[in-house]
């Protein structure tokens, strides 16, 4: 087992979340909004979609060096399971479900003559003897078969769960939200099973310029998106919370210093900062080449630094919000009452201010997540994003953009990145809306 830096941070994040969940369990003011979220259809469906993405991201975060590895290559559990996808490389572009390459080239036939035509793929549809006639029936047959298998698999597990747990069964019967959630889970499991099943025979989303499977790329990009979205927030949160609350509560010179800091930081174009710091990491790694032998370790280092620098440049917005809210809260009468009771300032911050700004933190974390995923795509486009060898939606789009001018157009890389990114960001945004509604104290009264 190999632990990359970002892996370690992801595990740390999971541990923190678990600890937070343990600490908040049973707290009345947290329980009520959570119940509100759990009764919202949109909220729960988007949560299921998010969790599905997270699951894939987590599988992709357990790295090891396989025993039969030839060149000490580090792979993840997801890579291991998707070995066929990973290794079924073609020569260059091929369309989804194609059996030949996308462009004609000179090829030598077995009888020695040369012919200008579409070469057949090495893996995609290679089980077919006559692709022109067999492709469509085989495709339909395999899709139906995959759907059937996926559906029976998920129904089996759902029935098993319902027969074991009366509580779940009751909930399913009573609540419309539970029905929708299970329907969505059923749909996702069946669909992904079918896709996985099909991808053993075809390139479901085609191949890219160097012949790599786009479906594999899109799945691998999930981890990059999640890491960027979550780790950046993790880095930004402490700064935003501590600075924001201190500035608002103590005012005076503390406020001046912190305001000066974030106003300055805000007026530097963040793209410049990001470019500079990525360059510094590159130089550092070039100087210490011995420590960064593996490609994946280098790429991971760059990803980590991208998170760091994005975190450093993006805490100012939340900090401003928290400062303003704290300014308001410190004038609240319960804070003055605590002062009159001789409560220490540190305790006032911890017990009276912090819990009352947490709803803002929660809302902005979920909102920032989606904007960070999108920011990665933009940064990769101008070549200061993640390492070019890292799978990311930004890199996919960047690689595909040159082919947009081509006739016939190569559309699948771009579309795949778009669909995956769209699903993740839409789910995160919808979830953020529901979270915002549930935790907004002004709405707490009228339910």
């Amino acid at each position: 087992m190999v632990m990359l830096w970002t892996d370690a941070l992801i595990y740390l994040l999971l541990l923190t979340l678990a600890a937070l969940g343990f600490y908040l369990r049973g707290k009345e003011h947290i329980k009520r909004p959570l119940q509100k979220i759990s009764s919202s259809k949109v909220g729960m469906v988007s949560l299921v979609v998010l969790l599905f993405f997270v699951l894939i991201g987590l599988l992709d975060s357990i790295h090891f060096i396989p025993s039969n590895s030839k060149n000490n290559e580090i792979i993840s559990v997801l890579d291991y399971w998707a070995t066929p996808l990973r290794e079924h490389g073609e020569k260059t572009y091929s369309a989804p479900f194609a059996t030949t390459l996308y462009s004609k080239e000179m090829q030598t036939l077995p009888d020695g003559t040369a012919q200008f035509g579409y070469p057949t793929l090495r893996f995609g549809g290679s089980h077919l003897t006559d692709p022109t006639t067999q492709l469509l029936p085989d495709l339909l047959k395999k899709t139906a078969y995959g759907l059937f298998q996926g559906a029976s698999l998920s129904s089996f597990f759902m029935l098993l769960l319902f027969s074991l747990s009366t509580k779940q069964r009751e909930r399913f019967k009573r609540s419309a939200t539970a029905k929708t959630v299970w329907a969505v889970i059923f749909f996702i499991v069946s669909l992904s099973y079918t896709l996985v099943y099909l991808s053993a025979y075809y390139h479901v989303l085609g191949t890219d310029k160097v012949g790599e499977d786009v479906f594999y790329q899109a799945i691998k990009s999930i981890r990059t998106g999640l890491v960027l979205g979550t780790l950046t927030t993790l880095i930004m949160l402490p700064m935003a919370i501590i600075f924001g609350i201190l500035a608002g509560f103590f005012r005076g010179w503390v406020d001046d210093v912190i305001q000066y800091l974030y106003t300055t930081l805000n007026s530097i174009p963040s793209v410049l900062l990001i470019a500079a710091s990525i360059l510094m990491v590159q130089v550092y790694m070039a100087k210490h080449e011995a420590d960064y032998t593996s490609v994946i370790v280098r790429a991971d280092m760059r990803l980590l630094f991208l998170c760091l620098i994005l975190g450093v440049t993006s805490w100012t917005g939340l900090c401003r919000l928290l400062r303003a809210e704290t300014l308001k809260l410190r004038e609240m009468e319960y804070v003055q009452a605590a002062q009159a009771l001789g409560v220490k300032q540190s305790m006032i911050l911890l017990r009276h201010i912090l819990p009352n700004v947490m709803h803002i933190v929660l809302i902005s974390v979920v909102l920032d997540f989606s904007s960070l995923v999108l920011a990665e795509a933009v940064l990769s486009y101008i070549n200061i994003g993640v390492d070019p060898t890292t799978y990311s939606w930004g890199n996919m789009i960047n690689g595909a953009r040159l082919e947009m001018a081509r006739d016939p157009i190569v559309w699948w890389s771009l579309s795949a990145a778009f669909v995956f990114m769209f699903a993740l960001v839409l789910a995160a945004n919808l979830f953020a809306d529901v979270v915002q509604d549930a935790f907004d104290p002004r709405r707490a009264g009228n339910d």
Partner: protein, 534 residues
């Protein structure tokens, strides 16, 4: 005489909840009809349902609502727009938020004129001037071009009345028109409404929670409770011989100025002595933020508060009484002067030494909704002071003390594990009192603790404060604008005006024989039950 407005069997529901429950009454031309009741009794909803201005989720049921024989229920929304503002005018409670801050006074009045009349521009301007003169706004010519923020609260309410009068209505609905105003301004506004009514012979429908005020101005009074009309009758007959138990209860709860008359004056040891206390806020200007002047919120105040007694600090809003209270507790910066609490100068301490001495002086705030952390349990809120000042006390003992305190302020012990939002305003104020009592203070500063409460709840809280004083011998510095409460509770009174104390003395002396002109003016403006029109 035919009624101007008659309401028959009106009910308003929000889902399952009934806020107005089958009420019927009539208003005659030229009369002043008052609808009184405590908060949440459905008075405002009744008025809004006449104009069909209810929130979207409300359901209105009524047999008929007639305005001079014209059934308003049968009118479409379009036709109602011609009635709103034209035949029925409306004045709201809060003049601060009822005016549009980006429009001048004249523009806002012209807006109404344009809707209902077809005057040329010069006629509009002339009419605006007339209206402003009618509501006795000083310098109407100049005020026309000004914006709402340039006017005081009383002046804004005059503008609101001018807007309501612009359509020359037959009925003016005034929904708590003076609640957010000072008592002297309140008297002026009521006088103005009465004058205008006599000039124009329009009917006035006054909605209020203040029985004394209503008894001074109304011709007929109706009392509402939980959405029902419990009693109605002519003034002064109704309040002299109330038939319904609720009316009797309301009248009994009303604090009376006479209640102080047999309170003995006796000299005791002073607990708190304040000499030349000042709170100045610097006004800074220029790039170097030089101090050019000061806002003198509290300007050289001296008084003594005796052990186990109550000193009431009375004054209108903005006179610096709350600032003085918080300044005494050392909760705000910029104070100077000597404050001796039991011989200890709290203001010369700082840091931990100050924290340790905090227990001696506590505070109870006005707003029961913002004075407790919504994220903390009631038990933790009350125990907070014990936690901070006596960390040596064990958890079990602390809990017993909290339970004891809850019983002392008349709340069930189970309240310990509940959140503040589960309690009503009066109950929350009890929790705040328990929190202050937890650290066994010698002095509690009560900053208008009853002014956000209904009159019957106010009476209970005053009773509780008196009882606690008898049991523990704690002293109160009671900040208020309400002379009725002063008479019920205080031993001594200090009257504050523009940051200075203008009169101090024993309560009977100050209330019955005020010396200073300002005190006389204040007392003269207080509406008294059964008294003459102010």
């Amino acid at each position: 005489m035919k009624p101007l407005l008659s309401i028959e069997h009106l009910s308003v529901n929000f889902g399952q909840q009934t806020v107005v429950d089958d009420i019927s009454f009539e208003i005659f031309p030229g009369e002043t009809f008052a609808l009184v009741g405590e908060s949440g009794s459905g008075k405002s909803m009744t008025a809004l349902s006449v104009l069909r201005l209810l929130p979207n989720n409300a359901q209105l049921n009524a047999t008929a609502i007639h305005l001079q024989g014209d059934n308003l229920l049968a009118r479409s929304e379009r036709e109602l727009c011609k009635i709103r503002g034209r035949r029925i005018g409306l004045v709201f409670q809060d003049p601060m938020s009822s005016l549009n801050p980006v429009m001048t006074i004249a523009e806002q009045i012209v807006e109404v004129l344009d809707i209902h009349f077809d005057f040329p521009a010069e006629k509009n301007q002339q009419r605006v001037l007339e209206l402003l003169q009618q509501v006795e706004l000083p310098e109407p010519q100049r005020r026309m071009a000004e914006y709402p923020h340039q006017l005081s609260g009383g002046q804004r309410q005059r503008v609101m009345i001018a807007i309501a009068l612009a359509g020359e209505p037959e009925l003016l609905i005034a929904d708590e028109p003076t609640t957010s105003l000072d008592v002297t301004i309140q008297a002026q506004i009521l006088q103005l409404l009465k004058n205008i009514q006599q000039q124009t012979n329009m009917a006035l429908w006054l909605i209020s929670h203040d029985l004394a005020l209503v008894s001074n101005i109304a011709d007929r009074i109706a009392v509402m409770q939980h959405g029902k009309l419990v009693e109605s009758g002519c003034n002064p007959g109704l309040f002299e011989h109330p038939q319904h138990a609720y009316t009797q209860q309301l009248l009994a709860a009303l604090p009376r100025l006479e209640s102080c008359n047999n309170r003995p004056a006796q000299e005791r040891q002073p607990l708190l002595s304040v000499t030349d206390f000042k709170v100045y806020y610097p006004i800074r200007k220029g790039i170097f933020k030089r101090i050019v002047d000061y806002v003198k919120a509290v300007d050289g105040v001296s008084f003594n508060l005796q052990q186990g007694k109550t000193l009431a600090l009375v004054g209108e809003s903005g006179c610096g009484k709350t600032t003085l209270g918080k300044g005494l507790l050392n909760l705000i910066a910029g104070s100077s002067g000597s404050v001796l609490l039991d011989g200890l100068a709290l203001h010369e301490l700082s840091g931990d030494a100050l924290r340790q001495q905090r227990a001696a002086m506590q505070i109870v705030f006005q707003d029961p909704f913002s004075s407790m952390n919504p994220r903390m349990l009631v038990g933790d809120i009350i125990a907070e002071g014990l936690h901070a000042l006596h960390p040596e006390i064990k958890a079990l003992e602390r809990q017993q003390r909290v339970q004891h305190l809850l019983t002392a302020v008349g709340l069930p012990k189970e309240a310990i594990n509940r959140y503040p939002h589960e309690f009503s305003g009066g109950q929350r104020q009890r929790i705040c009192i328990a929190r202050a009592l937890a650290v066994e203070p010698k002095l509690i500063v009560c900053d208008e603790p009853t002014s956000a409460l209904d009159v019957s709840v106010q009476a209970q809280i005053i009773q509780l404060l008196k009882q606690i004083q008898q049991e523990t011998g704690v002293s109160y510095l009671f900040i208020t604008h309400d002379f009725g409460v002063v008479a019920e509770l205080a031993d001594d009174v200090a009257v504050m005006y523009k940051g200075k104390i203008v009169e101090v003395g024993h309560v009977t002396q100050v209330l019955n024989h005020p010396v200073h002109a300002y005190t006389q003016k204040l007392l003269g403006a207080v509406p008294k039950l059964g008294g003459v029109t102010p």
